[in-house]
């Protein structure tokens, strides 16, 4: 199956146009939180098989960061959103 991502700004695009920038579910700790919290945030990542939320950078297109929810085993894509839009929704 071709890896196609539907960019909210550019439409359906092949994965070659993107750079995958890793887990998008990490929440940045407060500046004065414990070293452990910061260590976990910077270095520790899960490697899930199944649904995962990731940052994808549309480097050859609109150059926006996207949040892609997909299955890491089947590459079924569930949702794609602009990262700014995603952050705004999370704040609410």
């Amino acid at each position: 199956m071709a890896s196609l991502i539907t960019c909210p700004h550019c439409g359906v695009r092949p994965k070659e146009e993107f750079a995958i920038r890793g887990d998008a579910s990490c929440v940045r700790p407060e500046p004065l939180d414990s070293d452990e919290a910061w260590h976990d945030y910077v270095y520790v990542r899960a490697n899930p098989r199944g649904r995962a939320v990731e940052h994808w950078h549309h480097i050859a297109g609109c150059r926006r960061f996207l949040v892609v929810e997909r299955d890491t085993a089947t590459h079924e894509v569930y949702s794609v959103a602009d990262a700014a839009e995603f952050a705004r929704r999370a704040e609410r």
Partner: protein, 184 residues
Amino acid sequence: MVRDYNNRHALEQKLRAAPTPPAADHLMVGHWRAVATVLARSGQEETVQRAIASVPEFAMRFSAPAEWLVISEAEAPSGLARRLEELCGAMAHVIDLSDGRVVFRLSGPNGRRILAKGIGVDLHPDVFSSGGSANVLCGHIPINLARVGEDVFELIAPRSFAESLFDDLMRMGREFELTAAFAD
């Protein structure tokens, strides 16, 4: 040395031979086209878009949300940047890219089939209609592709990739005997 670089077109070496008469499928390389990028301030996107779209001699190409490439055949590079500055004022940031971009125009009945060899975007007129534009990858080169007519595409490539893109396009068009020449 800097002046030599600026005065030499990126494809001068490639298009040295005497021009051949254009075949059905023809690649035209723009001579010093004025290109500028416009980045609208957040909240001013629509005002900026309307202001630039109101000038008939400017062609506007979508590059990203609140970001466009503006090209003009009538204006000189400095004139284009100045007019855009006047038009947008504090609503947008304007950068002149004329020395950094090369504009290609691919026309002919097989244009779509030629581009399909390097571009992973559906170019059917129902999907990518006339007047549409987008940043895409052609092979490994990021370009801005626009459909300016039913069978006419315009590609805007970074100058340093122009030779490579030119070679790729000529190879992609070889089965259709694609010809190439400078625009004037």
